[in-house]
Amino acid sequence: MRADILVFPGSNCDIDTEIALKSALPGWRVERQWHDGADLSGTQFCVLPGGFAYGDYLRAGALAARSPAIAELRALIGRGGLVLGICNGFQVLVEAGILPGAFQANTVQHFVCRDVHLRVESRGSPFLEAFREGQVLRLPIAHQEGNYRLSEDEYRRLRDEGRIAFTYCGPNGEIGDERNPNGSYAGVAGVLAEGGRVLGMMPHPERAAWPAIGRADGLGILAASFGSVLEGGKL
């Protein structure tokens, strides 16, 4: 099995993601692929890592979303492959129109790096199979433009389709403005594409794949119970 990390100029969590995936997915071939000339034809799982692709100039993720590699990514999605966009990767997926919505600067108008709590809102995805609905995870965020905008209609539709993956919450799952680190609509921290095989999320699971230092809640996302997907023969 192969997992590829799509690297854009300015991606800066690509190596981190590679290291985390290698420990989370033993037996997989994990590789970073430079966006220019990327070939995803042999992969089952592609991660768009965090960072500042193209410096996030113009709009976060905008320039990367116009890379030819995005066509490869669409082909992978078309084949039923798994795609995870983390932080800047989420922004790229949104700018590419693969996930709905848009991003603006955090309402606090500055970068925010800290641990947050997330409530798992859906199980309709291989990335979420390891969790219970309503389970609370602790993951770090680190972003400047994480204010995820959705119209109310879009939000309802996503919620009804089980495509809201995570909501920012308190340690006991409490939801509210004071738990929302960036002003995202309804505190949405991660969403799924139709079918659940594409996940975009602002928090960084690769930074929480390390039980030895007490940060392990991201492992379940990276090591997604891919078993079920793979056994289904779809990939």
């Binding site: 113009l58 905008a62 848009a102 603006q104 600067a105 309402t107 108008q109 002003g183």
Partner: protein, 83 residues
């Protein structure tokens, strides 16, 4: 081929929250200024070759649609001038 200068004034669409504008409004107020409806947008400028101003405009509109402007949140005004 003649060259044209394009200026795109990109604004948030009406109704879209403008936290940057609010922050600036706040700071202006703290400094004792009386400003309302503060909005922060982008000014994009570029030069391009085109046979006519109309062609240049059409080309810049394509750039806007493909990259420069995010239609989910943004509107723009375009001004083309000969160089």
């Amino acid at each position: 081929m003649p060259e044209f200068h394009a200026q795109l004034r990109v604004r948030l669409r009406p109704g879209v929250l403008d936290p940057a504008g609010q922050a600036v409004a706040h700071s202006l107020k703290d400094l004792g200024f009386a400003a309302r409806e503060v909005a922060v947008g982008k000014l994009l400028e570029l030069t391009l070759p085109a046979p006519t101003a109309e062609a240049a405009e059409a080309e810049v509109r394509r750039m806007a649609a493909e990259l420069l402007v995010n239609p989910v949140l943004e509107d723009f005004e375009l001004e083309i001038s000969a160089r």
